[in-house]
């Protein structure tokens, strides 16, 4: 009799232990997330509310959180979305502006959930100004102000010093060399389309190069990868020839579309280089992996090469393979440098002053961060 009682007791104990481990935690044991807040999503075009909360103390045991939404605090609630454990924010989109919404965030485990308090009302609305971008606006106003000030100074006749840019000084030399050799010039305007500022800068340089080429009666070959760039380049070169008094020498066929494909374009340009053997090759614009293929082929035919790009990862290839390289902003400075127009030089000086201010703020920022003061970081966020 004693043995049977002991066995039954042990069985009950085993059952209790198993239930304790396998049974899901009861609602009383599961804690919901706290500090639920629901508000209109800031700096947006409306139709969105943001819900934030502090994770449940049992976050690591949860499946996730179910965010529920209702037009009334008493309900009924429908599920707006589900987020995984560890997250403490949810953005509810597709809502109606001006309508109040109430939210609940329920902690979920398998077969059970813990309901949070109700938060709200959140009333979605569109904002007229993105306050998160105030610092960008301030910077743009400062930049524009400084540039306009320098332009005003330039108009009044102030002398503005610009350092030598070897690549731009070499343009005349390059054109002259091609003329002496009786070979054409080749201008490759990069891979991007007309909407890119680098391409516009390249086309500006093309205008100046074409003008020089027209004066020396040297053909200019411009293979393009974009039809819009091709049509713009045709107009620019035509205008340059007209300004040089040689409209009859302009050949539309010299400015052509090759292909949109990156390596097809590189192959086409290489083919033109090897057949036409230009005396000078200008690689101006935004380039990708084909940059070295073009530069090395240009070197192999003995052409003088002047490259210019804002593609930082291609600069090493151009510096290695070309005679002159315009690094980054030197390309943008080209039109100002070549024309020496005071107003254009004024914009360069303004840019330089801003760069100086940035360098100073970087220095101040590094010192402050080292001392544990973070306000300058917040200013730039």
């Amino acid at each position: 009799m004693r043995k049977q009682g002991t066995f039954q007791g042990l069985r009950a104990l085993l059952l209790f232990v198993l239930l304790a481990f396998l049974a899901p935690p009861s609602s009383a044991a599961l804690s919901p997330p706290e500090d639920i807040k629901a508000f209109d999503s800031p700096n947006d075009a409306g139709g969105s509310a943001t819900v934030t909360w502090k994770a449940s103390p049992q976050d690591s045991l949860l499946l996730g959180y179910s965010v529920k939404r209702s037009a009334k605090p008493e309900g009924p609630y429908e599920e707006a979305g589900v987020v995984l454990k560890g997250q403490e924010e949810f953005q509810d989109a597709g809502l109606t502006d001006g309508q109040a919404y109430y939210y609940r965030v329920d902690a979920r485990v398998l077969g059970d959930s813990a309901l949070s308090a109700v938060a709200g009302p959140a009333v979605p609305s569109a904002q007229w100004f993105n306050l998160g971008r105030v610092n960008i606006l301030a910077f743009i106003m400062l930049f524009a102000g400084i540039v306009l000030w320098y332009i005003a100074r330039a108009k009044k006749g102030a002398k503005l010093f610009i350092r030598r840019i070897a690549g731009l000084d070499a343009v005349e030399e390059a054109v002259g060399r091609s003329t002496e050799m009786g070979r054409p010039l080749m201008f490759i305007p990069g891979l991007l389309s007309i909407d890119d500022v680098t391409t516009l800068a390249a086309l500006t340089i093309l205008g100046r190069v074409a003008r020089k080429a027209a004066e020396y009666d040297t053909p200019v070959l411009v293979p393009c990868t974009d039809p819009l760039v091709m049509t713009t380049a045709q107009e620019i070169v035509k205008q340059s020839y007209s300004e040089a008094g040689r409209p009859d020498a302009y050949r539309e066929g010299n400015i052509s579309y090759l292909t949109y494909d990156q390596f097809g374009y590189a192959a086409g340009c290489d083919g033109i280089m090897l057949r036409e053997k230009p005396g000078a090759v200008f690689l101006q614009g935004y380039f990708y992996a084909e940059s070295l293929i073009l530069a090395e082929t240009g070197h192999s035919i003995g052409a003088i090469q002047i490259a210019g790009t804002t593609a930082v990862d291609q600069l090493p290839f151009f510096v290695t393979a070309c005679d002159y390289t315009l690094i980054g902003e030197e390309m943008y400075a080209a039109s100002s440098y070549l024309t020496r127009e005071p107003i254009m030089l004024g914009t360069l000086k303004g840019e330089d002053l801003i760069k100086l201010l940035i360098a100073l703020s970087l220095t101040v920022g590094v010192v402050l961060e080292t001392l544990g003061k973070h306000w300058i970081q917040v200013l730039f966020q």
């Binding site: 969105s48 979305g81 987020v83 995984l84 989109a93 597709g94 990156q262 992996a289 990862d313």
Partner: protein
Amino acid sequence: MSWLAKLEKIDRRWIFLGVALVVSAPLLLGLHSKVDITPPVKNTFEAIDRLPPGSVVMVSIDYDASTMPENQPMLLAVLRHAFQKNLKIILMGHWPLGLPVGTLGLDEVAHEMHKTYGVDYVNLGFRPGTAAVMVNLGTEIRNVFPSDYKGVPLDSLEMVKNVHNYNDIRLLVGIEAGDTYEFWIIYVQARFGLKMAMGTTAVMAPTAYKYLQSGQLVGLIGGLKGAAEYESLVNHPGIGLAGMPAQSAGHLLIILFIILGNIGYFLARRKKT
């Protein structure tokens, strides 16, 4: 001119021949080598490793067939790791001609690891617009991709029923050959705070380092070596590791030619003076 001074002017065809021989020999001989794991790749691995099972990872195919040798091993290694951890994969891309390549990789790994389409992974395909697509995904995925790449409505796919925007995605892994990764950082990381790691070609890795250092990227897989490191971490050797001896040999040959060129240069300079 002495033969030493001729070192300054080696015909580039000899250099091309040397590179061809030295790179192909290890591949033909099937040589292997170990790789040391660098912090950027380790960070990428840990970012994926730390995700709880069931987390959604978005993989963006931003390369095409021309950089497949570098980018595809990265994709395969990352997918293997993600599937090992029972993470859910959403594949999409911004290079239309790269999607078939990415799809091939996803199907290959999913088949290998017995994963089910619609339950463990979904392929959204391609939509034009790059920046516009990235921004709109932050509001609602269905605004851009109402269906997957085969036209199946997203709401009928179990895996993405509750995935609406970046809030429901824990990590983005971009496999990159161009500057699309900068769009991801500017339009998505800055605006929505989505964590992201990038796998880039070796040429682009130096410029991507600044984003890694600033914390905008949680990890970076750079070039074939990065792919080899990741393959090593997931214990599944592939093209990455197979290419390491060839890459080592190629680099060594270039260094040798540089040294020879400098010897020739100094000898020629001495002769002039």
